[in-house]
Amino acid sequence: MMNVKRVEITDKAAELVAKIKLRHGELIFHQSGGCCDGSAPMLLPKEDFYIDESDIHLGEIADVNFYMNHKQFEYWKHTHLTVDIVQGRGSSFSLEIPEGFRFKVDSRLFTEEERIELGM
């Protein structure tokens, strides 16, 4: 049985997701990369972002699916992610920005045990 989660979310961040969901309906997280606000997860309306086999599904947090581009995943797959919030202001299209918060990821290495369970 698979118990290891690749991505989790803090309570504070989950509350914010729930609040945004009331206003915007179904959502997805997509992990960004690159310039400026890159390296931060983006929360987007589900139907806005085209997801296909080039996006890896890392799991579900606060009832929202979390994806990452497969090329980026190659460099991230040995780390566990926790989505949290920090006060601030991104300049992307992520839905939490008007709330004065920004989602962020905190990372840690998977333990040996977790790696075995993930087949890595």
Binding site: S39, A40, Q87, F93
Partner: protein, 499 residues
């Protein structure tokens, strides 16, 4: 000349149709300074209705603007450049307060480069010409460049006025009207630009909308009433904007960052001379603009046989960086642009340490004192590790560099290219063969050879791979803001004979 925090109004408007106007919904957001976390002023929290109004103004202005002569447009761009230059200190002081970067950079780089950029496009548009080909005795093909119409531009917060100039100057030179959204972290100098240059451009030619990405950026980027979208930022939003553009079959240009390698071959240590001094500065360029540069040389690759001696010099130079009061001309490293960036950078340093990277210097937040104690400062940090670590692969956008060694040319090229991105790179050597061959082998749009972080106009800038496409900072950018009209003219009085 001494510089200090500028004065601001309580709130500002959007710039639409040549006037400052309040947001239709009456909402504003608070813009704070990263230097001290204090309120600067309130800026419009625009919504779709404001964006539509700006597009209306641009569409109206387009009717006459698209017919202006290149001479008229060029003269206006030159006037704009003169005005920015005449007010350079005011622009610089404001940029420093809004973005957090030290005054020595805004005075000597950001603002003068923006001035030069307007002059460059004022010049090249005068010299642009179409072409005529006589395809046969009776047939002539004329190629004439036409403006696209109305372009949407979304710019980042790391070089607010300079990125504004990179986007606006070529678009206006080519005869387009513009609706631009500055980053919400740095709305100040775009507004100052509108104040100072008001009256030069006809009303509606340039419109500036403030607000948040999901509320104002999205309706702008997805509008079927714009003819092109230009964006600088991160990959997910870049992809999203391309999706919106695909619905309208609109062209786009994207600049999405990088993880640029800065490669030092052993010959740099052959002599202890001014060139070696330049190489050391070149390595420490990772701290330029607090590392908030798409092309930040955020990976240092050093040939292993000079590692010990060379890294010692880099560490010493890094530790000599002066941090703190951004208005002191001696300050070299200012504040990170926002609290979330500051937090992200520290989070990367943490995962770097956890992955086993060795902290050669820095590794913590920097605590400024006095007036700036609540600002967002990070110590310049060097992490030694290997290229598969996340700190080697992701754009941290802070004064943090990931450093590793390589054995030979082949390994240097392999590591340099082992990245999703391909925007910038640096190659440092005294070997004439390496000077040419290594830059050709690196998959990046800009390779600095024995220099770094130089951005003169007329040197094209843009990415390979996931760093995007389009080439700014060069007259070829005009093409990205133009249509090609082909007139195929027959001088033959006789019919073809098919019907």
């Amino acid at each position: 000349m001494s510089y200090s925090k500028p004065n601001f109004q309580e709130k500002y408007g959007n710039f639409i149709g040549g006037k400052f106007v309040d947001p239709i919904g009456g909402e504003y957001f608070e813009n704070t300074s990263p230097t001290n976390n204090q309120l600067i002023a309130k800026y419009p929290r625009s919504q779709k209705a404001d964006v539509d109004k700006a597009i209306d103004a641009a569409r109206e202005a387009e009717k006459t603007w698209s017919k202006t002569s290149v001479t008229e447009r060029s003269n206006m761009l030159n006037k704009i450049a003169d005005i920015i230059e005449a007010n350079l200190d005011e622009f610089a002081a404001m940029e420093t307060y809004d973005n957090g970067k030290p005054i020595r950079e805004t005075v000597n780089a950001d603002i003068p480069l923006a001035v030069d950029h307007f002059r460059y496009f004022a010049s090249v548009i005068r010299a642009e010409e179409g072409s005529a080909s006589e395809l046969n005795e009776h047939t002539v093909s004329l190629i004439i460049k036409e403006p696209l119409g109305v372009v949407a531009q979304i710019i980042p917060w790391n070089f607010p006025l300079l990125m504004f100039a990179w986007k606006v100057a070529p678009a206006l030179a080519a005869g387009n009207c513009v609706v631009l959204k500055p980053a919400e972290q740095t709305p100040c100098t775009a507004t100052l630009f509108a104040e100072k240059t008001s009256g030069i451009l006809p009303a509606g030619v340039l419109n500036i909308i403030h607000g948040f990405g999901p509320e104002a950026g999205k309706p702008l980027a997805s509008s079927p009433r714009v003819d092109k979208v230009a964006f600088t930022g991160e990959t997910t939003t870049g992809q999203l904007i391309m999706q919106y553009a695909s619905k309208n079959l609109n062209p786009v240009t994207m600049e999405l960052g990088g993880k640029s390698p800065n490669v030092f071959f052993n010959s740099v240590m052959d002599h202890d001379d001014e060139f070696l001094d330049k190489c050391i500065e070149g390595a420490v360029m990772f701290a330029f603009n607090q590392g908030e540069v798409c092309t930040s040389p955020s990976r240092i690759l050093i040939q292993e046989d000079i590692y010990e001696k060379f890294v010692e010099r880099i560490i010493a130079r890094t530790e000599a960086i002066v941090q703190g009061n951004p208005y002191d001309m001696n300050t070299q490293l200012g504040a990170q642009a926002s609290h979330d960036q500051f937090d992200k950078i520290l989070s990367y340093i943490k995962i770097g340490k956890e992955e086993g990277a060795e902290v050669l210097t820095g590794g913590e937040a920097y605590h400024a004192d006095g007036e700036y104690k609540d600002g967002f400062y990070v110590q310049p940090t060097i992490l030694k590790g290997h290229n598969k670590m996340r700190v080697f692969q992701e754009e941290i956008f802070g004064p943090v560099v990931a450093l590793c060694t390589f054995k030979d040319e082949a390994e240097a090229i392999e590591i340099a290219n082992d990245t999703l991105y391909g925007l910038g790179a640096g190659v440092w050597t005294r070997d004439a063969h390496q000077l040419y061959q290594i830059p050709r082998a690196i998959k990046a749009g800009r390779v600095w050879v024995n220099c770094y972080h130089d951005y003169p106009a007329h040197a094209p800038f843009g990415g390979y791979k996931m760093s995007g496409f389009g080439r700014e900072n060069h007259l070829m950018m005009l093409n990205h803001y133009q249509q090609t009209k082909n007139m195929l003219i027959s001088y033959n009085k006789n019919k073809l004979g098919f019907f």
